[in-house]
């Protein structure tokens, strides 16, 4: 757990650094294998930047719409670099919309494009796990185990390490080889593995959002994604 790294006067935030590094490595990996999915590296980068810019601008705008009064009182905050002034769900939605707009304009094939993005997404998942490890966030519930770690005043499940191992395993299993014969199968396997992993590991978390009867909200969301991924997988596999 090392949330900041001090290099002289410079204080680097390690969680953000891990994610940025993963984005860079993931894009490189995806670019090298994009041709297998019928995409040029350039198209992949353009798609990524349209997702990024759409997400950043959209996420900020939606946040501003949620709290207009605060921004009327300090308009300079509109262009503040604070990542906290950002609506995550809104940003994801606008990123998706700009990505779709770009894909439509370039007449990209949906499944092939998702396959081409998969190495990037799998690398990003490793970066997110590293960010959790660096910041001590996404922590585990108290546990009396030989491999428990001391964190936030208790011995806990090292959920950040579980997540790191799981995401590395997923990346290893999905390491780009030759393209699957049916477009979409590669991406759907990633979606199924990642949601399945979350469904399993969420049980050891100490910070889960709970709903009625103590059910963990993230597990229910992960199950729904897993069900969708497996159904689509069964359907795509029939196409071979």
């Amino acid at each position: 757990m090392l949330p900041t790294l001090q290099i002289g006067p410079l204080s680097l935030q390690t969680p953000g650094l891990a994610v940025i590094l993963a984005i860079w490595l993931g894009l490189n990996l995806a670019e090298r294998h994009a041709a297998k999915h019928g995409l040029s590296g350039e198209t992949l980068y353009n798609l990524f930047f349209s997702l990024l810019i759409g997400g950043l601008i959209g996420g900020r705008l939606i946040y501003v719409l949620r709290f207009p009064q605060a921004f009327l009182q300090s308009p300079a905050s509109l262009i503040s670099l604070n990542p906290g002034l950002f609506d995550l769900a809104g940003g994801l939605l606008t990123a998706l919309l700009t990505g779709l707009a770009y894909a439509r304009q370039k007449a990209l094939h949906l499944w092939k494009t998702l396959d081409a993005l998969t190495p990037f997404l799998a690398t990003l998942a490793v970066g997110i796990a590293l960010a959790h490890l660096a910041g001590g966030t996404a922590f585990g519930k108290p546990a009396d185990l030989p491999w428990a770690i001391e964190l936030w005043g208790a011995r806990r499940h090292p959920t950040q390490l579980y997540e790191l191992l799981g995401s590395l395993l997923t990346l290893g299993l999905l390491w780009p080889r030759k393209a699957e014969s049916t477009p979409g199968v590669y991406f759907l396997r990633f979606a199924a593995l990642t949601s399945g992993l979350r469904l399993f590991l969420e049980a050891f978390r100490g910070d889960s959002a709970l709903i009625l009867g103590g059910l963990r909200l993230a597990q229910i969301a992960a199950w729904l994604i897993l069900a969708a991924a497996l159904s689509l997988l069964a359907w795509r596999e029939k196409q071979t």
Binding site: P3, F67, S74, A76, G84, L199, Q219, A234
Partner: protein, 184 residues
């Protein structure tokens, strides 16, 4: 046939998933994190009691239960700390009557009281500025970089930790407004 087998496998996975969700439901027997104190979101804010900048009586965090508290660790030599103070002052002026308290903990162990005082007077800061001369609170909150700010709800639970700065005025306003709206 191969396809059929695979579908059965998928169905079994989904079924096992449902069983796992039911098994891992939090039944409330394990102690919630909110009872423990730690400098992290979701935990009770660790208590401290520190004297004021002008030798006023000590203020303890636990005595402010029921109010929204912003605990800001700073030093006078740290540019982002200096940059966010005017915004903090404006937000404090707006919301103090609704129950906002700002505790600007000067990490005096790595600063000097006279420099802190000069900065506070130059900027006409009216919220309490506390002196952490021995670094007790700085260590208790595991401060590694300045500024670091903890947003504490009326129930004494940390809702957000912002490492680094400067925080923009809108960030302060939106977080404080949301916390003030919560029921005590």
């Amino acid at each position: 046939m191969q396809l059929q087998k695979r579908r059965i496998f998928y169905a079994v996975i989904l079924l096992l998933g449902l069983v796992w969700i039911a098994l891992s439901a939090e039944t409330g027997q394990t102690a919630p994190t909110t009872q423990a104190a730690a400098p992290q979101k979701g935990f009770r804010a660790p208590d401290f009691s520190l004297p004021g900048l002008k030798d006023e009586a000590a203020i303890s965090l636990s005595s402010l239960r029921g109010q929204v508290v912003l605990v800001n660790f700073w030093a006078s030599w740290c540019p982002p700390c200096r940059a966010e103070m005017p915004a903090m002052q404006r937000v404090y002026t707006t919301y103090k009557d609704q129950g906002l308290v700002i505790l600007a903990v000067n990490s005096t162990i790595q600063d000097s009281q006279s420099e802190a005082l000069r900065f506070a007077e130059e900027n006409r800061l009216t919220f309490p500025i506390l002196l952490d001369a021995e670094g007790l609170a700085t260590r208790l909150y595991a401060i590694r970089s300045l500024p670091t700010t903890f947003f504490v709800g009326r129930d004494g639970i940390i809702r957000e930790v912002v490492i680094g700065g400067p925080m923009s005025e809108a960030l302060l306003r939106t977080r404080v407004e949301t916390l003030l709206q919560e029921n005590p």
